[in-house]
Symmetry: C2
Subunit: 303 residues, 2 copies
């Protein structure tokens, strides 16, 4: 007979600051995995906290100061521009032994915010970024399996205790995610290219069509290509405003490169240089097809 | 007892020039609707015509000259850059009473090609554009219901006989499409904005990521946003090379506007002007959400 293995992973009190899609899904995943005692929600809107309580996503709603008392882990899931103010408000109430982590899409800025706002307690902050989302926002959109098979990037600080990094990793793994470690600078460059820039480009196209004199006609004849290209333009404006500002250095570098690529394509179209256009399109098409095939074959199937 | 209505619509011989996704799907749809006698395929590749025969998409393969004899309708479904050469080769064999039409994504260029290549017979050419597609190409990707619930745009010439326009409309309606009439100039402007420009933008982003030093890392961490934004970058490079060149005037106008929109967003990001960014993102997000809701509620559900 095999011995029964009882998992040692248990967070007695997890505080979710910002109980929307990202924070709510983490709460549901941790509850389903049976690794959490009490989930405490902190948020700006009483109505949305009440909804989170009604949906069973959180067990209690509290102020940040009250929530911090006895917390095992505090997870910042609000739009990233709020992180500095939240960390600053948290600092006097942050007890030794409590881990603070986040779920933001940008990492260099939150590390600066943590070092500034937490001072000596900054070593308790373990930066993280789960790579998952939906075009829907709010706690109603939260799903217990949002993170299953998805990646979470950890960008540990030199100051972090190994056990704290391991605990954050274990938390995300219990939610179903695969964890990867990289530097904050590398993280921000990668996501500027494959996530933040596409969001800006998609918003820009929809803004252009919406501002056209014949917007209604254009939208009426927009098809499947437009639908997929612009799906991310339905994302939370507040969240993406914050990401653009928080990761502006890396984003501006990618944006500038993109402007050059586009100017080159424009010149080729002006000249009617079909051969050169086809070479560029072929390389892109092969890259995209290979990426899609690899995704479908691996454990990276997206929702 | 109600009388049995026998549909008067019947095309004894339909010629599909270019038997890939678009032409093959039309052939399958017309066969399923029972409105066609013989489907004849014309193409550059003997292997692909053989595949179309094996799959039952076409009944015969022939040269353009042989196929044209006794044809009811000839549908040009090859990449649009080939239309002039095809029409030029067709002209000596084009019999009175045969309708020529096309399925290309650009309309002004094919009208110029038809008027030049067909001369006095140009009145037999009825320009059309079915708004449907998949990211897969080739006759293996053809589906009998590709056009069901989709739009087909007709851009009739002043010279066209009303009965010929009605026949082309009836052909697409029997394939399941809803037909709409607009001018070629209007058509080209609309599709430059909502289809051709997004394709160029999507190819450009994948080209940029593929050319980055850390391309592998970036692709490894690309998620659902990248997937949807770049789905159309897997489209046929030859087809999109041709569309970019064929519709270059309208496309360049949209591309120039897009460059201005992007430059404005870049300035706002540089200045960290979150309020202005949020206003633009909010307008885009609302437009996209309303569009999606309308699509889901209407008869416009995309594959």
């Amino acid at each position: 007979m095999r011995p029964v293995i009882v998992s040692a992973l248990h967070f007695s009190r997890v505080v979710i600051v910002g109980v929307g899609l990202i924070g709510g899904s983490l709460a549901l995943a941790l509850k389903r995995a049976g690794v959490v005692g009490t989930v405490v929600g902190v948020g700006r809107s009483a109505a949305s906290l009440q909804k989170a309580l009604d949906l069973g996503v959180i067990d209690e709603a509290a102020t940040l100061a009250d929530a911090a008392r006895g917390a095992s882990v505090i997870v910042l899931c609000a739009p990233v521009a709020q992180n500095f103010a939240l960390l600053h408000a948290l600092e006097p109430h942050l007890q030794p032994g409590t881990i603070v982590t986040d779920a933001g899409s940008t990492k260099s800025d939150v590390i600066v915010a943590a070092k500034t706002a937490l001072g000596d307690k900054a070593a308790q902050f373990v930066p993280a970024h789960p790579i998952a989302g939906r075009e829907l926002n709010g706690v109603e959109a939260a799903l217990p399996d949002l993170y299953v098979g998805k990646k979470t990037v950890l960008c540990p600080l030199q100051e972090n205790a190994r056990a704290d990094v391991a605990a954050v990793r274990a938390m995300w793994e219990s939610a179903g995610a695969d964890c990867h470690v990289m530097s904050a600078v590398q993280h921000d460059a990668v996501f500027a290219a494959v996530s933040h820039l596409p969001h800006v480009l998609s918003y820009a196209l929809v803004a252009q069509v919406a501002n056209a004199e014949d917007a209604a006609l254009k939208l009426d004849f927009a098809g499947g290509g437009f639908r997929d290209f612009t799906r991310i333009a339905a994302s939370s404006p507040e969240m993406w405003r914050d990401i653009c500002v928080a990761n502006r250095e890396a984003l501006l570098r990618e944006l500038q490169t993109y402007q050059s690529v586009l100017a080159h394509l424009k010149t080729l179209i002006e000249k009617g240089d079909g051969d050169a256009l086809e070479r560029i399109f072929t390389r892109a098409s092969k890259t995209r097809l290979a990426w899609g095939t690899e995704r479908a074959a691996g454990n990276h199937i997206e929702p």
